[in-house]
Amino acid sequence: MVDFSLTEEQREIRNWVRTFVERELMPLEPEVLRRERNGEGHGLTPQELHDLRQLAKKSDFWGIQTPVEYGGMGLDAVTTALVEIELGRTFIPFSFGGGADNILFYANEEQKKRYLLPTIAGERKSCFAITEPGAGSDAKAIRTRAYKDGDHWVINGEKTFITGGNEADFAMVFAVTDPEKGANGGVTCFLVDREAGWRSEPIPTMGEWGPASLVFDNVRVPESNVLGEVGKGFELAMKWIGRGRYLLPARALGACERLLSMAIDYANTRETFGKPLAERQAIQWMIADSQVEIEALRLLVLHAAWQVDNGRDSRHAQSIAKLYGGVKANEIVDRVLQIHGGMGYTRELPIERWYRELRLLRIYEGTDEIQRRTIARDLLKGYVKVGASLG
């Protein structure tokens, strides 16, 4: 049976987030745009973010995917995707509080007290540091080195494009501890406090999003800060990377919905040569194509999430959703900008902001090309059969 209906709970959660976005976030949009135009910082201020998270927490919207025993909501993948779609409808970057990187749950009890629980509580901020100038999706090529010195490890190397690296209180750093074994048992993950001595440098980008490069120069961490086991870091890294690729196109889908709605409103009101744009076939086709792609993307995202919930190997479906979402979101924002003409190009409207922001989706967490490689390899090696996605 293929049943596309949401459960009552899913619909209520979706509606809750939709109302929250409309009542709490969208009213802040003009001010956020104004501040960004004037170079007064991007997105919400830390105080605004904190207040909004606390407001949501009053209604138990806290720790979307954090397990219930840690005080979270423990939402399944499909419902989380629905939440992400709604959050994507505003360009204001917002996520609910109470979350923590999935691999922090592999910490031992003592580490959980110092890292996991304060992260869930919002008292500490983490960042995941694997990427290096010479190692992206080819993460096995990392060069950052950690050697043992008594009961400490000494880390040397450079990480780059680290999301949240500028704000983080501690980093989950992946370093080579056994060069001979490399990724096959020679990489270890360390929990490294900022006070241990690493530096972060912001990297300006074409988007409002700003990652960091991290520099480790003889940074010493005690043995007790190894996350998981020595030599088992690469397995943890794979768990982090595979934690929810479907959520990236989910958020972009929300953006596309909002953008298309803007284009429809504009096409209905803007008149050229005595007729609204909506009556021009060139505009109608752009609107129609965008709608078709939005609905196709919705099915791909929810199908990938459904596979996650059902314990299936979802990597192939997640790659498909990520690739399609990245490509189509960029085409849609381009069309919406085109429909708006000069207005779309201005910084009075958020379209150009989305245009810059969505471009990233084709690059981070696996470029389009990496997704295509995965999809093709799965088929050519026979891991996945054509036409078998429903089992």
Binding site: E8, E9, R11, E12, S59, F61, E271
Partner: protein, 259 residues
């Protein structure tokens, strides 16, 4: 203290709302149904009174099957249970008939207070509260922007154009609220997940003690004789500021009698 809150499902004001040309009733299929916004304020006030004085909050809805969504939302905000009068015979009932149906249903419930929004965003008659009080023979305290209960009496601030009046009555009473009264809470996630477990009693008109000859379109006391869609918005006038912009704007405002 037991409080009954009246909840109505209305077409979403964000979408294009239509009347059905066949019988001039609301075309419910044309737009999504949402909880009437003012009813959220009524629920909030009831929950606050319950938190202060104890008791139970019951949601009462007279409306079609789809109204279940609004009932669930009310339960997710914290109401304890709901009564849903759902019967095809009610279709097309006007404000007076609705008040009658609610009054009859309330006869099957125990309550100290009935709270409702001062109007719904669809029909906007704003008379159900007054008519209901009349049917029940209870004091009506309308347009409340503040409610205080003390023992067996209730005191409200009744909002007027110039300020407010303080109105007092003994319980039980009917209170209608305006949006200045409070800031409605969001439903809580835990209550969303638990809403299904809360009792929702579904009643036919017979079970609610409603006389079939007194409700429905055919027996309505008022009739929609004609209707027309709002005229489309016309293009605005562009005023070019050539040093006299202020004068032009003042003239415009004066011509529309704004100043």
């Amino acid at each position: 203290m037991n409080i009954v809150v009246l909840v109505k499902q209305v077409p979403d004001t964000e979408t294009e709302r239509k009347l059905d040309p066949a019988d001039s009733t609301v075309d419910r299929a044309a737009s999504d149904g949402v909880i009437n916004e003012l009813d959220e304020y009524a629920i909030e006030e009831a929950l606050r009174l319950k938190e202060k004085h104890g008791g139970e909050v019951t949601i009462l809805t007279v409306g079609p099957e789809q109204a279940t969504d609004s009932i669930r939302k009310a339960l997710s905000m914290g109401a304890d249970k709901a009564v849903h009068v759902c019967d095809d015979a009610l279709a097309g009932s006007d404000a007076l008939q609705t008040a009658y149906a609610i009054a009859q249903t309330l006869g099957t419930l125990e309550y100290d207070l009935v709270i409702l929004g001062s109007e719904s965003t669809d029909a906007r008659t704003g008379v159900v509260g007054a008519a209901l009080a009349e049917y029940l023979g209870l004091p009506q305290l309308t347009l409340a922007n503040k409610v205080d209960v003390d023992g067996t009496s209730v005191k409200i601030q009744r909002q007027t154009d110039d300020g407010y009046q303080v109105v007092e009555a003994t319980l039980p009473a009917v209170i209608s609220v305006v949006e200045k009264i409070n800031e409605p809470r969001y439903p809580s996630f835990k209550l969303i997940m638990a809403a299904k477990k809360k009792p929702v009693t579904k009643l036919s008109i017979a079970e609610a003690g409603i006389d079939a000859d007194k409700v429905g379109l055919a027996n309505a006391t008022t009739q929609v004789v004609d209707f027309a869609p709002a005229p489309p918005r016309t293009a605005g006038t562009v005023v070019k500021d050539e040093g006299n912009g202020g004068v032009l704007i003042a003239d415009f405002l004066a011509s529309k009698k704004f100043v």
